[in-house]
Symmetry: C2
Subunit: 321 residues, 2 copies
């Protein structure tokens, strides 16, 4: 039985193994991913992001638990670009809520950068593909921080939840860069803190000033105390409401079209980069060309042409993808 | 007369025009850059970086003036990735020292990002190539900030000068990330401020803790008051001392080899990206493939193969570089 077949049958081991393959040897996972692709597109992918200290993991777990109550099958992918750790059903830094870890209807996975820059967003995307094809109804993708790589990851979601927490000082200022545009739902966690109300008003003011205010979807601001579960019902309702909006308005299709386009571009560039540099390492002409550049016997453009011509010629006979 | 010929003859207009071409239509500058390449490799390229407020421009101008006193021909490239402004002999935000602006032995140029991500480092690299081939003895490349793109730019230099200023609080902490490894010479500017001594000691302690401490070159720490010119003689001497070290130790050749390798890779990837996406936009199959992905009639890997095969086939007949 192939890993793809195992995934389709809901086999946890096959699912974990395929995701590990995606992380470590992506080129070996192509056949399985190819087989799974037609079975994707049913899950609601929810990205959860925000600064450290917001309580993203607690929020994610509380949401997962809430969805489980309705009988939904849930996948959780916790992404930390700063962590070299990956794999397993438990995170490197802390143990997931006991209830979730032992619930067969929940699949939990952490993913770290493992030193490979740029590859994490694609690996996450393919891990989502696996869980989607495996029959998960909801996939919660939790990312640490609000940097560019996290933005790339969170944008593979249908619904992006941005978490905030009162008393982080200039947080409302720093959130302006990038996050405002991608947020579909805001949640103020630890909303029992005294300055939660002020944060909510500040955020609302910021949203009212947003030039895109007139658009069809207005990001709601929910309030939770994730540790007690307060407000989680409302948060889930808001996320579902956004999903209904996406499907009804046709925006879901547009988002998926954009995502496929970005993915196709990434696959093509990856292919190119890997094959070309492998080819020239094998042939040993790369070093030679650099030497010639140093001796001014050639220039970078002529050198590139001399490397490209035989490669394209040999490659055109068979695309190894 | 081609622009390259004009540059070789020291024509200021031709030089400015070619750099503008590099910024706006890099593909049209290839022939001139190709012609100039054999005449490069003589200039000492000095990168000057540091946080805002360090006084980089004043330092750069003071160094330029000092080099001019020795009769050296000087080029200044001021790079600001955050600025959309480019061009001219004067910077967008302030007027360069009058003496320099009217001195025919100095060429000053500012370069901004103009919204094109990633291209700035290559454009800067090619602008350096132009000034080098045009006979400049020293090229000072001043960059704003200490982000990744600035690091990429500053690393095209033979000698990297990192500027610091007393009284910036946690500056010594924030400088640890990335900058420490690339600095060949440190300069504490505004060294007449009371806490200059403490900063110097802190920095020295940090350098003593550096695991690479045993290497052949120990970055010196110079002190300047660039506005009055104090310490600039010593700073220039340190930069020249580093240059002698580079040439004597063979490290100059190694740095240039690394730079050529990175450039060759960038040229090849640029070529690929531009040609491939142009090809598919022309043929119109890109959109079609995205539609098929949406309808699950294909998967991203098969789609990529179907796009790559005819492209490689057509391209192998003639590499248009």
């Amino acid at each position: 039985m192939s890993l793809a077949e195992g995934v389709r049958r809901g086999n946890v081991r096959a699912t974990a193994k395929l995701i590990t393959l995606i992380e470590n040897h992506p080129e070996s996972a192509v056949e399985d991913l190819r087989a799974l692709h037609p079975h994707t597109g049913n899950a609601h992918i929810v990205g959860i992001t925000g600064s450290p200290g917001v309580g993203k993991s607690t929020l994610t777990d509380a949401l997962a638990k809430r969805w489980r109550k309705d009988g939904a099958r849930v996948g959780i992918i916790a992404v930390d670009p700063n962590s070299p750790f990956s794999g397993g059903a438990l995170l490197g830094d802390r143990v997931r809520m006991q209830e979730l870890a032992t619930d067969p209807g929940v699949f939990i996975r952490s993913m770290g950068a493992r030193g490979r820059l740029g590859g994490l967003a694609r690996a996450t995307h393919n891990a989502i593909r696996v869980l989607d094809a495996g029959g998960k109804d909801v996939i919660l993708v939790e990312t640490v921080g609000v940097g560019q790589s996290e933005l790339d990851i969170v944008q593979t979601a249908d619904t992006v939840v941005v978490g905030l927490v009162p008393g982080m000082g200039d947080d409302i200022q720093s959130i302006k860069a990038g996050i405002l545009e991608v947020a579909d739902v805001f949640v103020i966690n630890k909303a029992d803190r005294p300055d939660a109300r002020r944060l909510m008003m500040e955020l609302q003011t910021m949203l009212d000033l947003d030039p895109e205010k007139g658009s069809a979807w207005q990001p709601p601001i929910e309030r939770t105390v994730a540790t007690t579960g307060e407000g989680v019902d409302m948060l889930m309702a808001a996320i579902r409401h956004h999903w209904e909006h996406l499907t009804r308005s046709g925006e879901l299709e547009q988002r998926r079209r954009d995502r496929y386009e970005a993915e196709l571009q990434a696959v093509v560039e990856d292919y190119w980069r890997t094959r070309f540099f492998e080819y020239w390492q094998r042939e040993g002409h790369w070093e030679q060309m650099v030497e010639q550049l140093l001796r001014k016997e050639t220039d970078p453009f002529s050198a590139a042409r001399r490397l490209l011509t035989p490669f394209l010629d040999s490659e055109s006979r068979r695309v190894g993808l």
